[in-house]
Amino acid sequence: MHVPDGFFNLPVSVGAGAVAVTGVGVCLRGARRELDDRTAPMAGLVAAFIFAVQMLNFPVAAGTSGHLLGGALAAILVGPYTAVLCVSVVLLVQGFFFADGGLTALGINITLMAIVTTIVGWAVFRLITRSVPGGRAAIVAASFVAALVSVPASALAFTLLFWIGGTAPIDIASVAAAMGGVHVLIGIGEGLITALTVSSVLAVRPDLVYGARGLARRLVLRTAEGAEVPVTEVPATEAPEPTATPSAGRLRPLFIGGGLVAILLAGVVSFYASSSPDGLEKVAADKGLNAHEQDHGLSDAPLADYGVKGIDDERLSVGLAGVAGVGITVLAGGAVFYTVRRRQRHKAAV
């Protein structure tokens, strides 16, 4: 969905630019609260991860190109303010380093992909976690829904902007239909990946999930002989809350949910898991991290440094990419067909 130069007229570009600058400015202030010495690298990692996720990039008939967005994931991991900054940084880097997305369209891209997705994703996430108490399972479920909703929301915003100041003379209804349809699908993939990532981070590093912190256990002191010594003073750092360790029963929903996610993922995520990482690697090595060559790089992957053919992932990824490609093509084709039919009907009516 990276918008190139010249896609929107000047007033809309400038207006969105103002929105983006204001938004980023607000977030810079807000992020000071979320971000400390430790989370700065976390923000960097989230940005890198989103960059990787956005490499799953395929042309969409009536939009520029569609891919996963990552705003909701960022908001859940590092908090909404920092999340806007992360995605904005991704877009800046893509624009300046990778020539992906027009420089004059940066305002639009930041508004759509950083601000809208984060706000919508975070709002949905908070809404669910506030109203449904239930620990980890609820967090994972909320991440799924939040990410799922954030993508079509962003597509909707795109359509709105297009309606106000798009330079291409395309019927707004067909833009809305095509963008909406494709992005609901992308949203499902986004939801699955977000839920999987959040649940795997929660499992081993709960301290890294913003808003799911405070699971520290009490420390024990021992003598050289192994006898326990009572802890006299309160630890210098914040007193750990005596939280119950999650019981197996509490974890069951997570496991079941995780299992379901894994099965569903077989399609969507393995595409991501197999093609994207290795494709990414190949692209990085051969083409200088050129994001969009990814889809073309799948067919022959003489793998980078070690000169090994990517025997494992290659067939699988091509197969899956094929399946996904066919799906998207059918959809895109459907959208075009729908548009054309409508126009013909329209003509006939005139």
Partner: protein
């Protein structure tokens, strides 16, 4: 595992363009893009002038045409889209090569293709002549908020870390007789992808700690001097000034 991978975006060289301080180049490219976008689409000649300007920069920077063309693949998604506009576009229609095409659609397609391509080539030239690290230093000089620069720096580093971890994981899988024959192996990949995030983060975290333990305080030590002289700025503004002149001319010539 560090910035070694970026050399494909960047083409090492020692031309006047390479030597320009990064902050000058960033400003020049952004201003150029604005001039291009502000040009009315009917003035074909103006876009020709822009293309010539970029070609001159490419020659001065010794960036071969093949390199630029290869990197322009990034455009493919919206080229496909642009091609589709005249077909699905609304408005008055004309017969071209036996196809009924929308006239405003063709204008729109031309507008997007021309402006976006010029923007893409300008960005490619910028990345080809400026190391990513320098670009960040340039951005810092331009007073881009420190926080954003820092996140970007970490992001570039983590891209290497992730790539490195992925490479290691792939080799490890293969050396233990893994073959992804069919969809049944997908969960394995999904699971190891889940581990990838944590692993990359923790590796990156340890590296970050190693940096801290060697006195890092949020800013890379500027071993090189990056201040731009008046001459540097003078050189840098040639491109956007010529572009702006063209744009003004394009507006004033009816």
């Amino acid at each position: 595992m560090s910035a070694g991978h970026h050399h494909q975006l960047y083409r090492a060289g020692d031309t006047p363009v390479h030597r320009l301080p990064p902050q000058c180049k960033l400003v020049a490219v952004a201003a150029f893009a604005v001039a291009v976008v502000a040009t009315p689409r009917e003035r074909f000649w103006a876009f020709g002038v822009y293309a010539l300007l970029l070609a001159a920069v490419a020659v001065a920077a010794r960036v071969p045409a093949g390199f630029i063309l290869r990197r322009m693949v990034i455009e493919v998604p919206f080229v496909l889209f642009a091609v589709a506009i005249p077909i699905i576009g609304t408005g008055e229609r004309a017969e071209v090569l036996g196809m009924s095409l929308s006239v405003p659609g063709m204008w729109a397609a031309w507008n997007i293709l021309a402006k976006a391509s010029l923007g893409v080539v300008a960005s490619i030239l910028l990345a080809a002549t400026t190391e990513p690290r320098m670009m960040l230093l340039g951005a810092e000089r331009l007073r881009l908020p420190r926080l954003l620069v820092q996140i970007a720096a970490f992001m570039l580093r983590y891209m290497d870390v992730i790539l490195d971890q992925m490479r290691r994981m792939r080799i490890a899988r293969e050396s233990r007789a893994f073959v992804a024959r069919d969809i049944r192996q997908a969960p394995v990949l999904a699971r190891s992808a889940g581990a990838l995030f944590i692993r990359s983060y923790e590796r990156g975290e340890r590296v970050h700690l190693a940096m801290l333990s060697r006195g890092y305080a949020g800013e890379m030590p500027a071993i090189r001097d990056l201040s731009a002289s008046g001459r540097d700025w003078g050189m840098a503004v040639i491109l956007p000034c010529l572009a702006a002149a063209t744009a003004v001319l394009a507006w004033s010539i009816a």
